[in-house]
């Protein structure tokens, strides 16, 4: 029994316990905090699986931004879940049977790390052998994500873009900036203000590092986008929504939201006009590798732009809501 196995197992036990506690608790504030813990433990598991890129995103989105969004939502609704007034025998049976079917389904899956699994024998060898020659970047994950599978990633970015638009439509992001300030500024929290000021700079720098170092190490547009957005959300939380809107107006964020996807699609279109396939960056530079490098850099920047703009505008939309329940009613 290796050390890694022990750590893996204890993390999985933590994950299970957290999920169970989330199910049993009725205090929604604690549920939000536990869901944040759940994401953090998952991020730890991803690191152990050597999926550092995924761990980045999970930690920033799951433990950070989505927790903030859930807390803002909580401030608009009740803090306690209503006790169920119906027996839940049938839902429990459905869930149990579905779970059994899923577990049965995993029996056919190849073992973890099996060298003969289809994922390892089908396209992975091609990526591992040819990335150095064709794309010329040390981080194969970025090469696969942005170059070989550029279409998939374009689809993902479009999904995020659409989700952001949907949130803005549902919550009604007014073009005119609202007069009233919803989130109270934390004027009395001197310590938080000072520490936040110290931290925002390094967080933004780190986001830029993750963005532009994605060719060489773990990182890329998705991770950088959420980290970048996290810095702005922290600023809005501590210094108030009005100040954040003054620094980054909602209108500008909405324009950047579209710019990212347009940049991604535009790079594809340019390679198309140069007489190559859509999203084949090889024609963008003097050599194939140079072209791929430029293309991946631009495409990743587009991804980062859209992701961070979606995160920030979603937060603006949530935080700009008027609370239907006053503080005293809790």
């Amino acid at each position: 029994m290796t050390m890694e196995f022990v750590i893996n197992m204890s993390l999985f036990v933590f994950l299970g316990l957290t999920a169970f506690a989330i199910l049993k608790l009725r205090a929604l504030f604690a549920v939000v905090m536990l869901s944040s813990v759940f994401s953090l433990v998952s991020a730890g598991l991803f690191v152990l699986l050597d999926a550092v890129d995924v761990a980045f995103t999970e930690a920033a989105v799951g433990a950070g931004i989505s927790t903030v969004l859930l807390l803002v939502t909580l401030s608009l609704t009740a803090r306690r879940e209503k006790a169920p007034h119906r027996a839940h025998a049938i839902p429990l049976a459905v869930v149990f049977l579905t779970g059994l079917a899923l577990v049965y389904g995993t029996l056919d899956m190849p073992h973890f790390g099996d060298p003969n699994a289809p994922a390892q024998t089908h396209v992975a060898p091609k990526y591992i052998n040819d990335t150095e020659r064709e794309v010329g970047m040390p981080n194969i994950v970025t090469a696969v994500l942005a170059s070989y599978r550029g279409f998939d990633t374009l689809g993902e970015v479009t999904v995020i873009f659409t989700a952001g638009i949907a949130v803005l439509l549902l919550l009604g992001a007014s073009i005119r900036e609202p007069d009233g300030v919803r989130i109270q500024t934390m004027d009395h929290h001197l310590v938080l203000r000072v520490v936040t000021k110290v931290l925002i700079g390094p967080i933004l720098l780190f986001a830029l590092y993750v963005q532009f170092h994605g060719d060489y190490g773990p990182g890329g547009g998705f991770q950088a986008g959420v980290i970048f957005a996290a810095a702005f959300i922290i600023y809005a939380l501590v210094f108030g929504l009005e100040n954040a809107r003054r620094a980054v107006p909602g209108q500008a964020v909405r324009i950047l939201l579209a710019c990212g996807v347009l940049l991604y699609g535009g790079v594809g279109l340019i390679s198309f006009l140069f007489g190559e396939n859509y999203l084949n960056y090889s024609v963008l530079g003097a050599t194939q590798v140079a072209g791929q490098h430029l293309g991946v850099l631009l495409v990743e920047f587009g991804v980062g732009l859209t992701v961070s703009a979606v995160m920030v505008s979603t937060f603006y939309a949530f935080a700009g809501q008027n609370p239907p329940i006053s503080d005293e009613d809790w």
Partner: protein, 117 residues
């Protein structure tokens, strides 16, 4: 010889850090009220985590890993006490008052101490 001293220093840091984290955890479970628990976790965790990082830095030697650990340490050094402060502040603002010993409870532990002695 120097290598041995460096190694011993590193392991002393790792051990002390682990013990502090353990003490903080025991305090979190055993102490009577919210603020006392925050006190136990907040203080021991910051020092414990930074000591563990220091031990790891010495183990790693002069490399990129050391600089990354240093950055993580600096980040924890700022964020950990701040979050403790924020949680305690939020609890106080929402009306939770610290458990203060009144006359009676103050005398009892003193008597217990006397008994043990």
């Amino acid at each position: 010889m120097t290598a041995l001293i460096v190694d011993a220093f590193s392991w002393a840091c790792l051990g002390a850090g682990s013990v502090l984290v353990l003490i903080g955890t025991v305090g979190l479970i055993r102490l009577p009220d919210f603020y006392a628990r925050m006190h136990a976790v907040g203080i021991t965790d910051t020092l414990g985590a930074d000591l563990i990082l220091l031990g790891l830095m010495v183990q790693a030697g002069f490399s990129l890993v050391t600089i990354k650990l240093l950055l993580i340490g600096a980040f924890l050094f700022f964020t950990s006490p701040t979050s403790t402060h924020a949680i305690a502040n939020a609890a106080f603002t929402s009306g939770l008052r610290p458990l203060v010993a009144d006359e009676e409870t103050e005398r009892e532990p003193a008597e217990e101490k006397g008994d043990q002695a």
